[in-house]
């Protein structure tokens, strides 16, 4: 993955596969504190503690079409490579929260990339899902709620 916006698309696809009907994507660019944060929260079926522990292992996957599961491992690696942090909180029946942070000015931090394409692909493919995209930077806060479309 060359862009963080592709990682976002990938993790949101996980939320959709988990049956989420509401998915929030929060992107915060805080250049002053030198942090870029990406949060993806869903109300999907959630995971057990055991699954959460295994989820960053690339050789763990719940799918049956192949034996590796790279999505979250790749995002975690991207944040690690740029001096960031990675957390997953999940509860069965309630949903999952994924949060990745990055050192904003780290030379290895991937560019955010084409967020617009990611949002269009998601909104068009899943009109039944309520997406709330929030993008905060020094210019202000942009919120796009699919219910307003």
């Amino acid at each position: 993955m060359e862009e963080l916006s592709l990682h976002i698309l990938d993790v949101v696809e996980n939320s959709i596969a988990a049956g989420a009907l509401r998915i929030e994507v929060n992107i915060t660019e805080d250049a002053t504190n030198n942090i870029l944060a990406i949060e993806i929260n869903d109300n999907g079926k959630g995971m057990s503690e055991e699954t959460v522990e295994k989820v960053l292992d690339p050789f763990y996957t719940t799918r049956t079409t192949r034996r590796v599961g790279m999505g979250l491992s790749l995002l975690s690696q991207a944040s690690e490579e740029s001096n960031g942090t990675f957390n997953i909180r999940s509860k069965i029946g309630e949903g999952t929260e994924v949060k990745a942070t990055f050192q904003y000015d780290h030379i290895d931090r991937k560019p955010i990339g084409d967020l617009k394409s990611t949002f269009i692909a998601l909104l068009t493919s899943y009109p039944e899902i309520n997406f709330v995209f929030t993008h905060i930077d020094e210019d202000g806060t942009f919120i796009l709620d699919s219910n307003d479309l």
Binding site: G71, K116, F142
Partner: protein, 127 residues
């Protein structure tokens, strides 16, 4: 750094509205872009956005655009499946923008399978 502006949000809204209107019709064709991790890393988002654009340009109101996960052929991504009403689904592999445009023109619009790019006909689950 790519930042979203109000103009971008308006553009997103208009695009999604147009495609949502398309969905309300009866479907005669379905285009599924494979968007697993492997697909996305290989360029599936560009394929998806191209599909949205060409469906919109065609003004056809009977074509459904959707996504699926990994089909198990990661090295062949980006992939898309075309299903015409009453016909077996066809999986196309190693896609580019030009290839998906040709597939749309020849297969979706004229019903002729593009053998040059087709990987398999039929669903793997039925084998």
């Amino acid at each position: 750094m790519a930042k979203l502006s109000i103009k971008d949000l308006e553009e997103i809204r208009n695009k999604v509205k147009k495609t949502a209107m398309l969905r309300e019709g009866i479907s005669n064709a379905k285009i599924t872009v494979h968007m697993g991790t492997c697909g996305i890393a290989a360029g599936a988002r560009t394929i998806m956005n191209t599909v949205i654009k060409i469906v919109e340009e065609s003004k056809r109101d009977d074509i459904i655009v959707t996504t699926s996960g990994c089909a198990g052929f990661c090295s062949k991504e980006p992939m898309a499946t075309i299903e015409l009403k009453g016909e077996a689904p066809v999986k196309y592999s190693d896609l580019t923008e030009d290839k998906i445009r040709r597939i749309f023109d020849e297969h979706v619009l004229k019903g002729k399978i593009v053998k040059d790019y087709a990987l398999v006909i039929g669903s793997e689950r039925e084998l």
